[in-house]
Symmetry: C2
Subunit: 403 residues, 2 copies
């Protein structure tokens, strides 16, 4: 579980953008909105987080309004009104480390540590730590949290920390604990803790709508986890870094907002990928197609969810009213017309779904996709890229083996 977010930023210039019509399928099998005369330019050199900037001045149109009516837009407020930042100020750090050393310890897995990262930077604002039971139950039953001022924020996935019986016993009646990373580093203090039962079956059933064995997150994270959940307020001793050479790409919501503000962004678009992009990073438009990446059922030969449910559920979700959800239609390869076309359920058998994975596999293995799936020039770029990767791998392999 790592955050992969693609944000598109529109800044103030003089172009009118029609978000509603026309739409057309792109060569890679996904539908794109048609942005006439837009000049893409990257914000950051080779930054995978923020991939494209359109330096134009669009006047936004909501799908539900007339094409002529402009939308006033500015950076969207973070959930709960204020971005959470749970990293201890440097001046207090030494003192907090001393305090943490004296507390009972809870070990974090690699995934737990990534959740500490998510919470500490405010991606899950207004959450200030791992969920206590009242937050967990709201997330599980209502896919949302009610804040103290009565407003509702979207929170469809419980963000929880599991501990085993032995750890629970060791904590006893202490109210604070220290969190220790997979490498043994002291990471954070969890304050005002609450320990409650971890009903894994119910958590899985209500989160995924199935308890069939084989869901990756369930198998890797939940099944082996302890029988208790521990909630509380986080104080992170220093910003979470992975030291993998990629840390400078991992911008926090605060950093992203600063960048968008500096560019006088009128609107920030997030595209649906495997992981939900966040209001908290400043995205006020969310472009969503079929259900997240089309998860297959782990034991049955069918999709786990209906392809349309992702966008339907998001467009009705409590707490997402302020986000402009832009659903788009599913496109697939029409084997009769031999080109990409909007999927027509009445002749489903004529359509071939070529996923990103399948497309990349074609390119890797040198196999050609069906005629009309992609323009030949574009396809060649992809094939050349994978060939270059293989050449690179072949030349590096001996070095890796000897290392």
């Amino acid at each position: 579980m790592s955050l992969t977010i693609k944000l598109h930023v529109f800044t103030s210039h003089s172009h009118r953008l029609n978000l509603n019509f026309p739409t057309k399928p792109t060569p890679n099998g996904f539908t794109s909105y048609n942005y006439p005369n837009i000049r893409p330019k990257p914000i950051y050199h080779s930054d995978p987080l923020v991939s494209i900037v359109y330096n134009t001045k669009p006047i936004m149109h909501s799908p539900s309004r007339s094409v002529q009516a402009p939308i006033k837009s500015s950076l969207i407020e973070p959930d709960g009104g204020k971005l959470v930042d749970l990293v201890v100020p440097e001046t207090d750090r030494a003192e907090r480390v001393l305090e943490a050393q004296a507390l009972p310890k809870v070990s974090l897995t690699k995934i737990d540590l990534e959740w500490v990262h998510v919470i500490s930077e405010g991606w899950a604002s207004p959450l200030r730590g791992f969920m206590r039971e009242d937050e967990y139950l709201q997330s599980l039953h209502f896919n949302s949290l009610r804040t103290k001022d009565g407003s509702v924020v979207n929170m469809s996935l419980p963000i929880v920390l599991a501990i085993d019986d032995e750890t629970k016993e060791r904590i006893g009646s202490e109210t604070n604990v220290g969190l220790v990373g997979p490498n043994g580093d002291l990471i954070a203090i969890l304050r005002g803790i609450e320990i409650y039962k971890h009903n894994k079956e119910e958590r899985t059933a209500r989160t995924w709508g199935t308890t069939a064995p084989g869901l990756p997150y369930v198998e890797e994270v939940i099944t082996s986890a302890g029988n208790w959940l521990i909630g509380g307020d986080l104080e992170v001793l220093e910003p979470i870094k992975y030291n993998d050479g990629l840390d400078h790409y991992r911008l926090s919501p605060q950093q992203l907002r600063k960048e968008f503000d500096g560019r006088q962004a009128d609107a920030v678009f997030a595209f649906q990928l495997r992981n939900p992009a966040r209001i908290n990073a400043g995205a006020n438009f969310y472009i969503v197609g079929r259900d997240p990446a089309g998860m297959g059922h782990p034991t049955e030969k069918r999709d786990l969810y209906d392809p349309d449910h992702g966008k339907k559920v998001l467009s009705m979700a409590p707490g997402l009213e302020k986000l402009n959800i832009l659903p788009f239609r599913v496109a697939a390869y029409d084997t009769v017309q031999k080109k990409m076309a909007f999927f027509d359920p009445s002749r489903a058998k004529d359509f071939l779904f070529i996923s990103g994975t399948k497309m990349r596999n074609y390119a890797k293995t040198g196999e050609n996709p069906p005629d009309g799936f992609m323009c030949p020039g574009g396809w060649k770029v992809l094939v050349n890229y994978y060939e270059s990767l293989q050449t690179e791998e072949a030349s590096q392999q001996p070095a890796v083996v000897s290392a």
Copy 2:
């Protein structure tokens, strides 16, 4: 599935009632609020729906307010503002029956017919028929529905009608269908229909938090149901009656509200039984103990839900803000003190949970409950009642057999 609702009504006299303190356990194992000087009197002779009236004038106190602050109370607004009534006026009946006869037919099971009853009388207001997909998804994911004016109503159980492949085929592109009861009677028209997939696994997992085999409603209603759900607006040709001699006990929300208004009720209390009582019938106080009737897990030796989750989830549920939830503590038989006492989790093994079912079984079989579980005089009443039932059964049995 039949509605069993126990409503308590408080009418205008001059008694001050403290809902908050003190509480004490009652002899039957449930905790009651201590209502000093309240004189119970039934509204209807032997009416199981509305069992007790307190003819006093309480001034209500919310648990969250100071003991002295009075609550202004009157009959609570139905969800969505107006009670739904979907029975065709008598003047239009003949015409509607003719129309229904010409439509494609959908057969209702006994349970489906009970849901038609629930919807048509407004128990599920503002729902105007079996759920269409957008309502179904909101119920499944958010336990609530957003109404057109933006307000949110609680709707934790999908109210849906399943059809099989053959029926779907037969309906084709018709927009209205006729609903036929288990006895072949024409019951209703369903208008503006929408047919969508019935993902039984997801429905079960998200509704009950388990897909383990053996949940009664799942086994009896869902597993055998068709692969499609059909939603639409109901027009019921005449009020649903069961002709079992009990129809006069089945008051509609409208009838109950009229009765409460006539009695100038300040407050209407609903006690948590197996089925949720409804705001729509006028209840503005909801007294809730452990999770609904303590469902056992169908395949594991444990409760399906945590005993406290029922009241916790209800007290946080979107759409129930206007309902005063009155949680009460769990009481059980303390085998050390040999009396009923509040359950103390730190010495769980000392407590014996004697359910209503177990208690009635003791009474039926003539076995005595442990000392201090119930006052001997009260116990004798129960035992005598069950003895009288057995005598009655014994004398009636031959007549039933020969019928």
